[in-house]
Amino acid sequence: MSASVGDYVEGNSLRLGGALGVVALAVVAALSLDVPLGEIVTVGFVERSLQAATPIALAAIGGLYAEKSGVFNIGLEGFMIFGAVNTAMLVWLVGGSSPTQGDLAVAMVGAVLVSLVYALVFAVFLIRYQANQIVAGLAVWFIGLGFGPFTAVLLWGNRNSPGLVSVQDVTVPVLADLPVVGPILFDTSPLVLLTAVVAVAAWVVLYRTKYGYWLQAAGENPEALDTAGVDVNRVRYAAVIFSGILAGLAGAVLLAHAGSFTGTGDTMVDGRGWIGIVAYLFGNYNPLGAAAAALLFGGLDMLQIQFQTAGIELPNRLVSLFPYIAVVVVLSVWGSTRMPAAVGEPYESED
């Protein structure tokens, strides 16, 4: 059950090989079609892709924990909408029309705490009242789609918020001057670094600690865990609440990078929660794999800017569909991941 990087490579050689193959194919196609590759893959592109990947990665890691424990949290998209709109609301309430970086930080923490409460209610529905996990998760999305813009209209009289505040890049002196690596790692959004820390920590906890072992057992073999004297449902509560918190944080990060809330159409979250689910499936339930998959989707999301600057004539509206198309392709080629054995089954202790 423990996994080292070597084991991961071995167990997922097909996945990694496929991903490498796709990248190689893209490069060959780009070269043979005379696409200005140098103008597309720039330092700025990598930076933007990392920023675009962070919310997807955070949501994916949360969803992965829930599913590992045996509960399919399909409500990630909804929790992200709440995370984004609540952050926007709190920024506005705390900082008014000219909020500071401090106000943003306070708002993000506040929004994450609110997410904790929502996730607790959701967990009670799923675990105590054995709600249908898929239907209840969809419900969270619908509730978010309704109450997210509702909050915006109440506060600003419009489904979109005015420009609020976006997070400032953190520049590490000296290191930031390094070529390529400098601007990508040492002159970037602190939330990108936070996400990297979360991903590594999630990996360590899942594969190297007792809690991680419990979590995996709750999803694979709840009876055994129960016999060992650990309350299965308590583990599941913790995992579902954690997934809600991380999805809420994902929404908050999305807002902090964008600087304002968009509540029209599918809201600013625009399917990223769903893409998060695919990211952890593609990453084979491994937090680091999920983060890498999120980076792939984030990169696709940012391609439109690169295409524009490189002068490639492709309608914006179609380029923006790349991540969704990629999700369908990824899911079709690597769809048959091995889910934890007990996912979706409520557990009732015999005593």
Binding site: Y129, Q130, I134, F142, P315, L318, I325, L331
Partner: protein, 358 residues
Amino acid sequence: MLSASALQRLGIAVASTGLALLVGLVVVAATGYDPVQFLVDVFEGSFGDSTATARTLKFTTIFVLTGVAVAVAFRAGVFNIGVQGQFVVGGFATIVTILWLAPFLPGGAVGGVALMALGTVAAVLAGGAYAAIPGLLKAYADANEIITTIMLNFIAVGVVGFLVEGPFRGEGNRAPNTARLPEYVDLPRLVYDNPDFSVVGLAVAVVTVVIVAFVVGRTRFGYDLVTSGRQEAAATFSGVDPDRMVVATMTFSGMLAGVAGAVFAIMIQGYYSDPSGVATYGFDAIAVSLLAANNPLGVVPASLLFGGLDSAGSHISINSDLPVQLIDGIIGLVVLFVAAPELFRMAAERVGLGEDRR
């Protein structure tokens, strides 16, 4: 939910709706509006006068069709969350087909009926084909249909949006819309004098539901569909190929979503606009179907309820400064409560209602 009796299901539906409305009222009060006025607005806006009733029936018509599309898939244990996308693709196909064929057919009533029939056929084919994609991917590549259908919704809205903005934009149109359908391609206005609603459209929807109920309840295909949803092993044992059944179910569901798209395009819009601005009938249909316990006939009353709610939403958006998105939130709450029948069973037991479980 499968073990619940019809009466229990009805109870759960009523309790879910009541509880969701109650939460809605609390939100209304908490945000400083008058909950009593809200209730009055809901009733006036849904059935207050003939204008309101016609508007309610207009929404009901679309919900009946999208709702039954969701219901047949859910019955077979397939989660078609892509009804919205299939609805968009179908409606767009209707408009494009009619615009293409109009010059070749005579005008007047005869040509109008022929064009509407051909447009609907195009919608059925397009909706069915678009739904077949996630069906095939689920059956033969094991791709989770919940996620593929949601992605295909985004893709449908994006592609059709691109098409109406550019290649299919009507000549001289400032807005990203296709050209208008000819005057004679429209359903007759009977009983209600509302440009967006025709009793004929509602009749088409109800007849479709009756046909679907017959297919699901009385034919071999319907039997296989229901058994493959409830008891996959039994279905396989009786010679049903589960993979083919998944594809057939999705296609059937998408064809119904296509009919919904055609009725929407002909009866309500008369042209096609950017679908990112089109109401989310396909998503609300999931709530409709769940409330109806995925029973095709039950979809009709459930649609009337949601039609009324949406109509009330239109009324409120004109007559009150209360944000209308509240209605969408309430619909989401209905879904959440419907998902947890255990909640009501436990509550009913506590107050001594209902029979013992098991």
